[in-house]
């Protein structure tokens, strides 16, 4: 036990911090100030009231010979301790109101990003720029299952951070595709619920480049604790470069779709993609969590005709948790995942499905 305690308490990453941090934006600093103000008001009131009580407990005891007094009311005093707190609250409400009005004003933004919450990942779409991507947790299962040492950003790391330029008013349009989620980055003091069917607005203007990490803050199912947020703020120049690169990447993906793939290449890419997009439900072993999440190992679909396998991955299965991944993943990733599923865990079907097959399937449905 002592060893355990020492292990944990001596971890380089464990912390004894007791307070919120001021954050990276003007709004987050204002919110921090409000927090500290109300905190100190509470401390002062607490010290006075508890102080009086502790004094009383020490002095006004029968064991010290104190005789009980008889007073039991005083209108003056009741009025005083009704009015004084009321005044303090009014004084507190004024800066709070001002800050709330500021936070609610998302107009005149320079960049708009749509954020969509999914079970259990985030989707970001840069409006007007034709750049969009999913952002998934990348912490390996081995770390979660205590088979490997946990990294510094355990559970707070993603494959694709949300990249934004500093000094720019960025407006977020937040919604969800299934259940209610909530997008929170403490350093930005932005938290807004993502509600399916409805759009919520929020905004930020980040001062300094850096990485800012957050988490989903509305219970959304089993992996609610495993869908973090990473915002990477770059200088305006670096952001422009990144954006151009992203657009290039989108084009390159399109080319990858037409390239000739080998089974080995598909298996490698497929295992990686499977471990990002499929493992939450179907597990690394392919055995799933029946009955909610069926086993793929030895399953009729994964070892049967390719068309059926492609169909269910691309179109999903309405009425179940199996989403339509045709809308979420590239043709390359889908082909790789299907190939992987057909050949891993002893399924050994021996065939492969290429990105062109996926494209053809989608077009054949037209």
């Amino acid at each position: 036990m002592g060893f355990l305690l020492w292990l944990v308490f001596s971890s380089a990453y464990a912390s004894w911090g007791v307070n919120m941090t001021p954050g990276a934006t003007e709004v987050s600093r204002t919110v921090f100030d409000l927090h500290m103000t109300i905190f100190w008001i509470c401390v002062v009131i607490g010290v006075i009231v508890f102080g009086a009580m502790f004094w009383s407990m020490l002095v006004h005891r029968r064991s010290t010979g104190q005789q009980p007094a008889h007073f039991h009311e005083s209108t003056t005093v009741e009025i005083l301790w009704t009015v004084v707190p009321l005044v303090i609250l009014v004084l507190m409400a004024i800066p709070a109101t001002k800050t709330l009005i500021e936070i609610y004003d998302s107009s005149e933004s320079e960049l708009d990003i749509q954020i969509t919450g999914y079970q259990w990942k985030w989707h970001y779409k840069y409006l007007g720029e034709d750049v969009e991507f999913f952002s998934n947790l990348t912490t390996p299962k081995d770390q979660i299952n205590n088979k490997a040492t946990k990294g510094e950003h355990y559970l707070l790391e993603v494959d694709e951070p949300l990249v934004v330029p500093v000094g720019t008013k960025v407006r977020f349009l937040i919604t969800a595709a299934d259940v209610i989620h909530s997008w929170w980055v403490p350093a930005l003091a932005v938290k807004k619920d993502a509600i399916p069917g409805f759009i919520n607005e929020s905004w930020t203007r980040i001062d300094e480049p850096g990485l800012y990490r957050g988490q989903c803050t509305e219970l959304c199912g089993k992996d609610h604790g495993f869908m973090p947020i990473v915002v990477e703020a770059k200088s305006k120049e670096d952001y422009a470069v990144w954006l151009a690169e992203r657009k290039q990447l989108a084009m390159a993906e399109k080319e990858l779709t037409s390239k000739e793939w080998t089974l080995d290449e598909l298996m490698v890419r497929g295992e990686k993609a499977y471990n990002t997009a499929c493992v939450a439900c179907h597990q690394a072993s392919g055995e799933g969590l029946p009955p909610m999440f069926p086993s793929l190992k030895g399953s009729a679909i994964a070892t049967g005709p390719a068309a059926g396998h492609i169909g269910i991955v691309v179109n999903g299965k309405p009425g179940t948790s199996m989403a339509a991944f045709g809308k979420q993943l590239s043709e390359v990733d889908i082909a790789a995942i299907i190939t992987y599923e057909r050949n891993a865990w002893g399924n050994a079907v021996g065939d492969m499905v290429t990105p062109k097959d996926i494209l053809a399937f989608k077009q054949a449905q037209e």
Binding site: S106, S107, E108, S109, D112, Q114, T116, Y118, Q119, L127, G128, L173, T175, A177, D178, P196, G197, F198, I199, N200, E201, V314, N315, G316, K317, P318, G319, T320, M322, A323, A324, G326, K327, K362, Q365, E366
Partner: protein, 187 residues
Amino acid sequence: MTEERLTRRLVIRLCVVVVAMFGFGFALVPIYDVMCQAFGINGKTAGVYEGQQAVDEQRQVRVQFLATNAADMVWEFGPQADEVVVHPGDSTQMLFVAYNPTDKPMTAQAIPSVAPSKAAAYFHKTECFCFTQQVLQPGERIEMPVRFIVDRDLPADVRHLTLAYTLFDVTARKPPVAQVTLTRAAP
């Protein structure tokens, strides 16, 4: 009055309150709808708008279009343009493309939401594919119009608003039995 009579009278009254509060819980549903529509909160837009307005040439408002699919909705769905600039009072149309890539007929429902929420009361749709369910046959692709007017009385500090649609698969609830008349774009 005896204790029994008094008690019975009180208990009956309290039971009435219980039933009334149960009803009140249900009444909150239409009350909520009415409040949202009356104050335009929650981004919910109203139904068909039948009015007309003079165009305010001096003012411009940017209207942004967003399209999101619910997680199990497979259709392609998106606006022809991301954004238009309109004059309040002027009737504008935007087309949304929808395409059913599966091999079964499907029914979809688009649900609109406007941001900022205070703009929702000032965003009038004279025609919208969201007023009805949309049925698409396998492989069918259509263009669906939304025709809208931004009210002249839109608060002066709103220069930019967003119309977002979420597309839901309602085939299970509303099987595409008969051919539903699709609202098609004017040629």
